[in-house]
Symmetry: C2
Amino acid sequence: MVEYTGCAASALDDLKRIEQLMNQAVRAAGATVVASVFQPFEPHGVSGVVVIEESHISIHTWPEHGYAAVDFYTCGQADPEVANALLQAGLGATHTESMYVDRGLGVPGRNLRLRSHRADSLVVPEGVLVTEQVAEEPSVLAN
Amino acid sequence: MVEYTGCAASALDDLKRIEQLMNQAVRAAGATVVASVFQPFEPHGVSGVVVIEESHISIHTWPEHGYAAVDFYTCGQADPEVANALLQAGLGATHTESMYVDRGLGVPGRNLRLRSHRADSLVVPEGVLVTEQVAEEPSVLAN
């Protein structure tokens, strides 16, 4: 799951551009498009989902807040970090925040695991990427 | 995010049934369908996404493992717990595990928050629902 903030409002409200960007991100990640749906939001924004052979990638945008939320649900060899980098650039995000959650670990009650939670500031005077690990789940115990 | 395990394999491999169930769950939750895509997985399973006015609900099923992964991405008044209960019953799940993540909290670096992580065993001798809170994120700090 990735949150993009500080994005250009015009980019977030351009349905065709968002659709192109998402498809480009899917291909760059090494995933294969199966089907996709992109719809305008009222009064602003876009909702879109690309179903891929490796599961799906979704986007919801709020141009009025310069904000977009993207989920990369992948399995196999697809690399969500490549798609993430492409979307960051394409949306003109100044900050991103991402949470990795493992799914389907195969043990009832321990199927889900928060692997990492990270915030990246992309706007610093020196032009250096600042990454900070913001939290991790302490332990997952279940019945 | 919800994980359903111990499901009936036949239910997880029936594309039409999954599509009906997902649409039923969306309506029961008080959400409004905008568009949907459902595709068979090879060699087994189904991938489907319903784009709703309140964002989206997705499903991926692995009949060979009796396992389905569902994401409820909602905003507004839609109630994901209602959809969850309906899917549990419809898929015949014996266990569910769910993680609530808040999105778009509006502060760069603190946009995401793991609210809860819970495992439910639906098969106990007395027929009593057993719920256990399995973990929470300790604190979210960012740049």
